[in-house]
Amino acid sequence: MNATGSSARTAAGQTSVRVQTADFDAGREIAALRAANPAIGAVASFIGVCRDLNDGAAVEEMVLEHYPGMTEKSLARIAAEARERWDLIDILIIHRVGRILPTEQIVLVVVTSAHRGESFAACEYLMDYLKTRAPFWKKEHTPDGSRWVDARASDDAAADRWK
């Protein structure tokens, strides 16, 4: 498993950021966070999945490139910003890189807190950041050849909500 990342325990919980080629077990990750802390009342999570169709083209596989170093740094910083905005317990971000097939998982974000509003808001905030500011790029392979995926205007609009 080729993984880089960071992990920092705070008084309230833990921030973990992992960039890896291997798939992940979302259920096991969520269960591990819950088991560690009886103060957790809310667990919001999001899984991004590789679809078999994107903009009408059949996707055979996808390759995710990233900027080693900057990726981990930018994710650790946005996690710290989320902790300043909301009262959170844990933040877990796992983002895969390399070759990914349709129906495989790409990204997992899990946020735990005492009450649900905080974990929902922070989970969506982190996903909006991942889509617009974190240095990942998707290349899709289709029957017509390979193409770099264009950024979506709707993703920029989603990220702008938090300004």
């Binding site: 983002h95 991942l130 995926v149 264009d150 950024a151």
Partner: protein, 84 residues
């Protein structure tokens, strides 16, 4: 010396993922570095022209056209990100 990195579509179009450049005399920020690289012509002129969807980072922080570039910096160019 600058350590310059290229990612994704730019890496493919420019045919390299990294290079070291002696800091040119008239390069002070991201936009003047891009102008200097465009002087190479062809793909460089096309991919780095103003108005193209190119983003830059200096020392692994997202940068603007007027973000300073100094000797020893790591500067990266790439298209808008598409992760998540």
């Amino acid at each position: 010396m600058l350590n310059v990195l290229y990612f994704a579509r730019l890496k493919d179009a420019l045919g390299r993922d990294a290079e070291q450049i002696d800091l040119p005399h008239d390069v002070r920020d991201v936009s003047s570095l891009m102008a200097w690289l465009r002087l190479r012509g062809d793909a460089w002129e096309r991919e780095l022209q103003p108005g193209r969807a190119v983003r830059a980072a200096v020392n692994q922080d997202m940068a603007d056209p007027d973000t300073p570039v100094r000797d020893g910096d790591e500067v990266a160019f790439f298209p808008p990100v598409t992760g998540g």
